[in-house]
Symmetry: C2
Subunit: 430 residues, 2 copies
């Protein structure tokens, strides 16, 4: 990891820069797949599955038998673990439910706001090197609590034409029965347009590689919403001598193993800890199966020493980390000054991986500096708010003239008239 | 307006189709302006202002003197109207504030979620035929309640190089002092990249023509968020014989005068009202200054008769109107069955224009069917949620094994290790 001492504020923009992700090149391929699937539906889905996933499938919808089989192959221990995670995630996301808000803004004018579930949502779960069943928990649980009527999952089949047992088990545990063995661009296109088998959805959630990311971008052109703009995962740790160097090293490595483009940053005001953390990283790195990936990520990563906590926290807000571990003596100072972050982990016994799996918070978070303006996935991600108003005769008398004056000043006379015809009627009633 | 009787469900998709807006052609121009402004900053802003707005301006930031002058030129009556609207909008949006949510998901694992204002937001206020100062109220008020630190306004200058007094008055009333006489693509590009004069913002809000819409789309590629995907404004009215035909006609016309591409739809189960509404439309249309625009919009609009309330409400949810007026005897049935709408207006004395200006609800709403998955602008549009967790030694003992098992099953051993090093330490402590 690169060591940077007291960087000047002018250089921060350069330091916080993420590796730029340019999907433009992929867009031609993505557009082609979209066009084809829009026209040919399931037939095209099968063709692309053969082309991209090297597998011929007849029926890409998961059957009840497949789920039963998966259920049998998962160990009791793992099942209990997943159930514990599910329970915690449910508790935290259920607590995010909001009540209908109702006020009388002026006598006779009642306004309210009520949240509604998005009726149809699609969850994309990547395949590849590892079965990321934890993402099903993070997406299906809030979707279910929100009350989404149709929740479907798409995930790429392996070379045997099946999905990992962990994915099937977790999906059925969350009550999802419509699962499709379709991955990549073809999955996103299928959920965007709908096919005979795959329902069209209104919003698509979930992580994915650069093809999936580009496809989700294109989906928004066809009136489909997406959860978050995507980028490589990130962790920033603020630590001092009260932090355990072995813990810090383990957290940096857990982020670094995600991918060679992962961002890992250590911020401190105490230069002395850097050496200790480095020693521990070397030791822990040795036995990691994903050592090579982690090493690459670390090569691009930074350890930054600031002269004081104020500079450090200013920098952290500028960086806007996806994951942010605070492990310092003066933790309340660091917490109070937070303005931009995805999810925050406080203290020596709060590793990021707790939140990745089982503490209850969501792990679908804004990367790439998007924490400046985006929330991570939460219950509201599966809802939209509708506003209502009901105005009495008295109410329209109270605000009518204001509306007339403002509409006239904006040159919108029909808007004014909609009030005038009503006020006239009321005058005639008296 | 076209009359459609008992349309079959198979034909609904065709009926609910909005006029397709294709901004692709504009994108070359928009990209060119973005590139130029990214490189040349304020100099390019001035060049494009001269080219597109036909006005040479030296200083495009509004001065205190300009605001004082505007203040004097607004009538007391209009000021009072704007202040009443402001008060109501404040009451409704203040009621949307949410408290920090905190739960202990399992003993020793505390998780919480707190909302934070987006630090820097840009409000675009269109110029053109009418000074839409009401949009300033709808955007600046929730931005201020949310606590956004930097709120700026961009609006195109007129041929005299100034902004309408109503816009300046309303902006200062809302406490906005950074106002720029910059419009169109150049305004969006300026707020996206930042120039010496215009601050870079994290999220851009506000309506605009097709150029502004395309520019906002492009801004999202540069890590800027936008409020909503845009489309022509819409109103759907559900009415029966209890609705006053003059009122219904006035509401349809108030929507139709927005633009020739406005969408106006009347849904009813009582065919008899259609003739009465049509007669009233013809009468009211006569004296409208924007008669031609309204006529064009009405030519594309529909009056649809359904055989019963169930069909009617199913269709309305499929259509997902931006504005939805319910004026029927059995109003609770219609309200209970709402799933998709931007803002709902209930009863004979609740015209859309009340909500456009002064009742308190927001008028920045999802069009084009986006009410299926988007909320209108509300307090949360100016905020993002950050999650936190703090785990005690006891807490990590409670969830540690679950995390280890799940991380291992996902093949992420460094994630597992981040737990294992901590559990080991705790075992050694005992």
């Amino acid at each position: 990891m690169k060591k940077i001492i007291n960087p000047k504020a002018e250089s921060w923009d350069e330091i916080i820069k993420r590796p730029s992700v340019n999907n433009d090149k992929l867009l031609t391929l993505v557009s082609e797949v979209f066009d084809h699937i829009q026209k040919a539906g399931d037939k095209a889905i099968l063709d692309y599955t053969e082309r991209f996933d090297q597998i011929q499938i007849e029926n890409f919808q998961v059957t009840k038998d497949e789920i039963l089989l998966a259920n049998k192959s998962i160990s009791k221990k793992l099942k209990k673990a997943i159930e514990q995670a599910k329970k915690n995630i449910e508790i935290f996301h259920r607590s995010q439910r909001t009540k209908t808000i109702q006020v009388e803004t002026i006598k006779g004018v009642k306004c309210w706001q009520k949240k509604y579930a998005i009726d149809k949502v699609g969850l994309y779960i990547p395949g590849g090197s590892a079965p990321l069943f934890s993402s099903i928990l993070m997406l299906a649980i809030p979707a279910t609590i929100a009350g989404c009527k149709e929740i479907i999952i798409c995930s790429p089949p392996n070379r045997r034409g099946s999905l990992p047992a962990e994915i099937l088990y977790t999906a059925q545990l969350c009550g999802i029965s419509k699962i499709f063995k379709v991955g990549g661009i073809q999955a996103i296109a299928g959920m965007t347009f709908g096919t005979k088998k795959i329902p069209k959805v209104y919003k698509i959630f979930g992580p994915g590689n650069q093809y999936v990311t580009a496809a989700k971008q294109l989906a928004t052109k066809y009136n489909v919403a997406i959860d978050l703009p995507a980028g490589p995962s990130e962790l920033l740790i603020a630590a001092d001598e009260t932090a355990d160097p072995d813990f810090i090293a383990s957290d940096l490595l857990s982020q670094a193993e995600h991918g060679s483009d992962s961002q890992v940053i250590l911020v401190t005001t105490k230069e002395s800890i850097i050496e200790k953390v480095n020693v521990s990283i070397v030791k822990q790195l040795e036995n990691l199966p994903r050592k090579k990936i982690a090493e690459k990520a670390l090569a691009n990563s930074k350890m930054i020493v600031f002269q004081n906590d104020e500079f450090a926290t200013n920098f952290i807000n500028d960086y806007s980390p996806e994951h942010y571990i605070i492990c310092v003596e003066n933790e309340s100072y660091y917490i109070d000054r937070i303005r931009n972050a995805g999810s925050v982990f406080i203290g020596n016994y709060t590793p990021e991986s707790a939140g990745d799996y089982a503490s209850g918070t969501n792990h679908t978070l804004p990367t790439n500096g998007f924490a400046k303006q985006f929330s991570g996935v939460n219950l509201d991600s599966f809802c939209k708010a509708i506003t209502f108003q009901k105005i009495s005769k008295n109410g329209i008398k109270n605000i009518g003239e204001s509306v007339e004056l403002m509409a006239e000043a904006e040159g919108l006379i029909a808007h004014k008239n909609a009030i005038s015809v009503r006020l006239k009627k009321l005058r005639n009633e008296n």
